[in-house]
Symmetry: C2
Subunit: 542 residues, 2 copies
């Protein structure tokens, strides 16, 4: 039995839980050393020696329990991006909250916000703390910051089995959420890579997209209703399948990153659990062939001809890492030989195709997908590599820590673009990152476009400021390149403060003004997460 997350200890300065790890395999380290040269281990955090800024004194903030414990404050000072790890591991976190509040219900949260508003404090909402865009980072400020942990607002409140609607606390983490629904035979079907740690509320306010988004949709399509507490009051949007009563306020809150208010609970569209999920693998001979196949399969899915839940296409470099030097070497070895022997496939692109349903439905879908893909020249590999993906689907974030231990840093970039722009965006990001090793995959396909997800590596200086500056330089170049192509600022990581300098290029001046208009109505004094979304200051190196 896996221990529940509540019983396990979160790792400070690294992903996940104490005792869990995913070390980079030797061939991967060799591959990095060949490309980046040898490196020095990046410092590893020792909480005992960390210099933690003293807690500022706070006025009475109502009834929510407050913690001023040093390590608790440190653990709530940052999210889980590369730069967060660098700062935490090196003991160079520049600000911590004055306290961590843990409201047990909506009323306690409302009291907290009112008191903070009255006393001129800042509030940073904290769900799973897995933001990779600075969404929960405490930014040095002239006012004390209180982090509001939502862990007390968790659990299944109500399940309407007839309608397939589940009302859940915003602080409910992935595993607890699926366990609670699973006990009744239901699933939300939302499985982002951060699933083990991230929360329902965090998913909703960042436009999260799960690995099975092709089948289940993005998180915002699952929100039927929600409750929000803001400094200006409470908002309760009823659970409705659809409404023509003006603009859909649900979609004004999804993606708002705690800047408009804090979601306390949401009523989600859930489904009966499927009996089977199966992911099979194939190999496209070229990127072009792979992209065309993914687009064609996505449309066959969209028209109902081939129901799928997952499509993912790795480019040549990512395929090379996955099949020959990477994480799955042993599982792929036989297949590697098989595919390398095929004419013209030695620079192939790995394609994963997933379907969910009854065993009969899954067989039929994958059989149809196979016919359609092989007609296009794709080589079908079968279920083996897919099992590998299923096994590792939530483990990859652990790998970053092991790489830093060896002196290599890795970060990801993601965007989305119409199908006709995929090649332009692909080239632009690769060009921007110059000689760095870069892997890319397409995932989360839509009828009109797809997400592009890039992973890049660099040798990490042992000096944390130098490391931060080096990373920020890469990030700026890549993000500028994305903005120049007109692609999305982010597909599912959100804005946080990282992307806040770029997001206005997507909104335009008037769009930015619309967002400000609502922020000012819900939070007139700007106490809620004031540096995310609407503050365009470049703070990448923080």
């Amino acid at each position: 039995m896996t221990k529940t997350s509540a019983q396990r200890t979160r790792r400070l300065g690294g992903w996940g839980f104490e005792g869990a790890a995913f070390s980079p395999p030797t061939p991967m380290l060799t591959w990095l050393e060949e490309r980046l040269g040898p490196s020095e281990p990046f410092p590893s955090f020792d909480p005992a020696t960390a210099e933690i800024p003293a807690a500022e004194p706070l006025p009475d903030l109502g009834s929510a329990p407050l913690s001023t414990d040093d390590l608790d404050r440190l653990a709530h000072s940052r999210g889980q991006s590369l730069i967060d790890l660098i700062r935490l591991r090196s003991g160079t976190v520049s600000a911590t909250p004055a306290a961590v509040a843990r409201p047990a219900n909506d009323q306690e949260l409302e009291d907290l916000l009112r008191a903070a508003d009255r006393h001129g404090l800042r509030i940073v909402p904290f769900g799973g703390g897995t933001s990779v865009t600075g969404g929960v980072t405490v930014v040095p400020d002239d006012r004390p910051v209180v982090t509001a942990s939502l862990e007390g607002l968790a659990g299944l409140h109500h399940l309407d089995e007839v309608s397939g609607l589940a009302t859940l606390g915003a602080g409910t983490r992935g595993p607890a959420l699926e366990a609670a629904l699973g006990a009744h035979g239901f699933t939300l079907g939302h499985f982002p890579q951060s699933f083990e740690l991230s929360t329902l509320g965090g998913w909703i306010v960042t436009h999260s997209s799960g690995q099975e988004s092709l089948g289940h949709g993005r998180i915002e399509s699952m929100v039927a209703g929600l409750d929000l507490v803001a400094p200006a009051g409470r908002l309760s949007i009823p659970a409705l399948p659809a409404s023509a009563a003006g603009p859909d306020l649900r979609q004004w809150i999804t993606g708002s990153e705690g800047r408009f208010g804090i979601i306390t609970k949401a009523t989600m569209r859930v489904r009966r659990r499927a009996e089977t999920l199966r992911v099979e693998a194939a190999l496209a001979r070229t990127w072009r062939q792979g992209v065309d196949t993914v687009r064609t399969l996505t449309r066959a899915h969209g028209s109902g001809r081939i129901p799928l839940c997952l499509l993912r296409l790795s480019d040549g470099p990512e395929t090379e890492v996955a099949l020959t030097v990477g994480l799955a070497k042993s599982r792929f070895e036989g297949l590697t030989r098989k595919y390398l022997g095929l004419r013209g496939v030695d620079r192939g692109c790995l394609l994963l195709v997933g379907a969910k349903g009854s065993p009969w439905d899954v067989d039929r879908s994958l059989e149809q997908a196979k016919i359609l893909a092989t007609e296009r020249g794709v080589v079908w590999l079968g279920a083996g590599p897919g099992r590998n993906w299923s096994h590792d689907r939530f483990r990859h974030p652990y790998l970053r820590d092991g790489l830093l231990d060896r002196g290599y840093a890795t970060d990801t970039l993601e965007t989305a673009a119409p199908w006709s722009k995929v090649d332009t965006v692909y080239r632009a990001v690769r060009d921007a990152l110059g000689d760095l090793p870069v892997l890319c995959h397409l995932s989360h396909p839509y009828g009109d476009g797809v997400s592009l997800y890039f992973t890049f590596f660099f040798r990490c200086p042992t000096d944390p400021d130098e490391a931060a500056a080096l990373w920020a330089g890469h990030k700026r170049k890549a993000q500028n390149a994305i903005a120049e192509t007109g692609a999305a600022t982010s597909h599912h990581h959100g804005v946080g403060f990282w992307h806040a300098p770029w997001a206005p290029t997507e909104w335009g001046e008037l769009g930015t003004d619309m967002l400000r208009g609502v922020a000012e109505r819900l939070d007139p004094n700007g106490i809620l997460n004031p540096h995310v979304l609407l503050d365009p200051t470049d703070r990448l190196e923080l």
Copy 2:
């Protein structure tokens, strides 16, 4: 060949085009007379005798052509609701625009808005003019009103065949839109009952839902990008398949009913045309059996097992009208005898099931649907009655005019609710309408709920004020009943000024304030359609 809408003359004070009609069949009139008693014909409009308020003098409003022709102004004073027909037919329209502007491009529209803003005029945007909620009605005002017809902003601007994205002018009407896309083998798939007259921009700002929404989705799910002109400036939201850059501004504009700005063009997600659309009919023995079958079929569709594009379930009274006294008597007569002979089905509920795709796919979907439905005790009738539906799908609005000619008024009410509340809402609306003949169907099903669509009839007094007051009394009772159940204020008719007194019960105080916040940013002086959406004054009798 059908003449294109551009070559035909719109009827004033009635639906559609001169020369087209759909007279109520004799059995239907008998059915109404039995229930409501005999009636007197409602006055029929004679434009020559109509008292049209004189055009107010206007300042220079930029370069858009302005028409001050009396009949042109009258034709742009109201939409197409029952009350609009009553006012137009009786010559009791209380206000007309001072002029009708016809901007030919975005710049002319922008100039018009700026001039109106400067001179303190009101602007009412006018697409197809088919609003049934007062969305284009000129409300008596202390400032002159200019109606901005969008007919000049029409047509296909760009088609990205690779991405399946079509950029179209907001003033493009249904038939022109499908013809332009059809020439390239594409379709938007949006077929509301108003299809012949309504426009893309109108669909987007009212959350329109087409008859095939189960397959194609609601209009807002098809909007990839859009351009808006507002008094505060222009907003251009890029066409993206998805983005996590903050709240989705597309969804801030969809449903905004011209209150925030005027959409000039939109980039829509389009698909390859399907070869076949087929609608088959079945008969559920009871309402309960029918509702359960629709829900089960919707979920089989949602999981990809049975792809469908349409599901519609009539209640007993609507089935009775359709099969025995109504529009389709002759086509149904054989079937009627067949079904009446079946034990327990003499008070059955007509179910329509539609699928789209290749003939093979359609056969398979309907065969699967039939198996699933008949397992539940539903009697499958086959394709005949479905053909009837296809033939009449856009003709029903003409019927209202013919009924008024005989002194009977009919109006519709629509809402949406979670599946678990369907019976509560159904009963509440029926109870609110008391002894009136009421028909109901479920359509536009979702995983978590469905739309309920009611048609009611009353004997129409020949005095227009009396008729308006009688109608408004019924409407208020029904809308109060809907609000009390917590169901949607409207599923796809929008808010206009009709529903503006009820919509805040759905938004709450804070939600209403959010909408106001954006309206004030985009239109600081409140010149755009100021009485829709956010003005809760009850003007039903206007």
